[in-house]
Amino acid sequence: MYINIEEPTRRISPDAVRVWRLSNFIMEAIVFLVICVLLFAGNHFGWWQWVTWLLWGAIGISLLSSFYSVWFEPAWLQKTWRYEIDEEYIQLQYGRFNTHHTLIPMAKVEYVTTNQGPFLRKYDLYDLTIGTVTSSHKIPAIPKEQALALRAQIGVLAKIKDSDEEMDVAP
């Protein structure tokens, strides 16, 4: 434990790895194809030399990033994702190289939604999105019953608002 805090404990579904592998693969493939088309067009229409170089560079980067985002990233992200939801706080923690610890007071939650794309549906999983006044956060790939229960739970807990104002502080 690098940062000495009470870490969240609940984990996301192990199926997240396969969902992310698939969706990342498709995204990367689209990017790769677009670059290839551009490169082809560049050769065909005789664009500037440096544009072609840039495109070759982009192909290299795209291949490397595909390797990372299809092979390593899903597994690492799934392994490191933790969350905890109690009456007062939502805690999120994720990331292997860049680790994030997020803390959101329940009183600041404005809305909560569950979303499901085609890949998630295959594994009966849901993404849970929690919106606050200033931003929104996603807890990915939670099994259906858990996700719906969490949504209901947050919905009830988030009704209580605090006033943004301080209690009289003893000097």
Binding site: Y2, N4, I5, F97, H101, T102, V133, E165, E166, V169
Partner: protein
């Protein structure tokens, strides 16, 4: 108790909209009906027709809008009734109002009227309730209602404070804390460099006229005239400089003249502007954070600008009305903050970053430098030497940033100072922080540090990051925010 009733906007509202319609289309009018007045080309004639149709349509819409728009203010809610064909009703609770802005432009002043904007903290089109034209009496009444709603909201009905609430002070005492004098304005004119503002204006005027009338020949003969009598340039330049200094002072004066900051128990009032007068008022407990900004030049001159961060919008960039006078000597700025917001305590001594962080910061990749060098190597090989000074500047900036960064985390406040060439301080209360994040990258873990992030309500969102504090501070910050429940109402 006063019954709320639906009211129409002031009858001169259409006039204001007509003026702004004419203002907005002045260039089109100039082009179509003055420059191309004699043109018979089908294209110009079509444009003229379309434009006249547009004008007629706009004028009708303006009048219908006025006829059908109503507003109603009860003790708790503002209701707007909008729309000619599609009726639309908007309710805004008065207690949700974050700040109040009152603008009196030249036309308002001529007609002894004013305008009022009530800002809520939400995003989107419905974020503010605007009263474009009001009599002063009506504006005062609305401001009073907003204030009253706050007071009712602030005190729960069964509180012990009820006795005091029965007899509220009839007029809260308002104390003036700052008035901009001539000296301040002269300083402001020089620091804001507005005396040079005339040159870009002149250039753009020159080129605009050049499009219509061929100025090149004239300017060439003028140039030839001066080239043969170089000494003449001295008085001409002096006159130009003097003129631009005067214009600079006038623009500064019109913007910051009559600048008054006052406050009572509950609120802070900022008033500024000579021709267009703007008033801003915010409840002290609605101040989300305090920013003290010193861009490079101001830092050299020991001046600072204090901004009160509000959850509601605070006008366009140009009319940043939440700013306490932007050209204050640093000490004066701090004194003002202490006087106006005694609930905020500016930390005198703050902690520096650990020594090892300097190496971490210097080690981080210089992406911009790499990109610049590659770009130079490809496109401007003869300028490749520029790469070295660029790198030096970045290293110096990182060093200065490391040296200058300070932070302080106390029971109720977090205060952060950053900046390499500029200096920016941010101070906020724990209860005003909306959410936090502590992050650490692989490299940061090697150096035993972490980064702090936190959000404050503002428009746009105020996200603050403090990089490379010791990991223990990261944990402390996390725990600090987790304890907030003990302090929030």
């Amino acid at each position: 108790m006063m019954e709320a009733e639906k009211q129409q906007f002031h009858f001169s509202w259409p006039l204001f909209q007509l003026v702004s319609l004419v203002k907005g289309s002045i260039f089109v009018i100039f082009y179509l009906f003055i420059l191309k007045a004699g043109s018979n080309s089908a294209f110009i004639l079509t444009l003229k027709g379309l434009f006249i149709a547009f004008l007629v349509f706009s004028v009708i819409k303006i009048f219908l809008n006025w006829v059908y728009t109503r507003y109603e203010i009860s003790e708790t809610t503002v209701t707007l009734y909008l729309g000619i064909f599609v009726k639309n009703q908007r309710n805004v609770e008065l207690k949700r109002i974050q700040n109040v802005q009152q603008t009196t432009n030249f036309l308002h002043r001529m007609l002894k009227l004013t305008s009022l904007t009530l800002e809520t903290g939400t995003t989107g089109e419905d974020a503010a309730v605007k009263f474009p034209v009001l009599s002063h009496a009506e504006a005062d009444r609305i401001k009073g209602l907003v204030e009253e709603a706050k007071r009712v909201h602030a005190e729960p009905p069964n509180s012990v404070a009820e006795e005091e609430a029965i007899a509220p002070p009839p007029l809260p005492e308002r104390k003036v804390h700052f008035t901009a004098g001539t000296k301040d304005l002269v300083k402001a004119a020089f620091t804001s460099l507005s005396m040079f503002a005339i040159f870009p204006i002149l250039f753009s005027l020159y080129f605009q006229f050049d499009d219509f009338f061929n100025l090149d020949e004239t300017s060439q003969s003028v140039f030839a005239f001066f080239a043969s009598r170089l000494w003449l340039l001295v008085p001409v330049l002096a006159a130009a400089l003097l003129l631009s200094a005067v214009i600079g002072f006038v623009t500064t004066y019109s913007k910051y003249g009559k600048f008054v900051i006052s406050a009572d128990e509950q609120r802070i009032y900022i008033r500024k502007g000579v021709f267009t007068e703007t008033q801003f008022s915010i409840r002290k407990d609605k101040v989300q954070a305090i920013k003290i900004e010193q861009p490079f030049l101001k830092r050299l001159l020991g001046m600072a600008e204090v901004k009160l961060v509000s959850a509601g919008s605070v006008g366009d960039d140009d009319a940043e009305i939440n700013s306490l006078f932007p050209f204050l000597p640093v000490k004066e700025a701090y004194r003002l903050v202490e006087e106006l917001l005694p609930q905020y305590q500016i930390a005198g001594s703050m902690e520096a970053l650990p020594k090892s962080v300097l190496w971490l910061r210097l080690l981080r990749p210089y992406y911009f430098w790499i990109a610049a060098t590659v770009a130079l190597a490809v496109f401007k090989t003869e300028w490749l030497w520029l790469s070295a000074p660029i790198l030096v500047i970045f290293i110096v900036a990182r060093f200065l940033e490391y040296r200058y960064t300070r932070y302080s985390l106390t029971e109720r406040f977090i205060q952060i100072r950053t900046g390499a060439f500029s200096a920016n301080t941010l101070l906020t209360k724990r209860v005003k922080v909306q959410e936090i994040q502590v992050t650490h990258s692989w490299l940061q873990r090697k150096f035993g540090v972490s980064s702090l992030h936190f959000h404050n309500r503002s428009k746009p969102l105020l996200a603050t990051e403090l990089k490379d504090v010791p990991r223990e501070t990261g944990a402390k910050f996390y725990g600090w925010f987790k304890d907030r429940t003990h302090f929030v109402k």
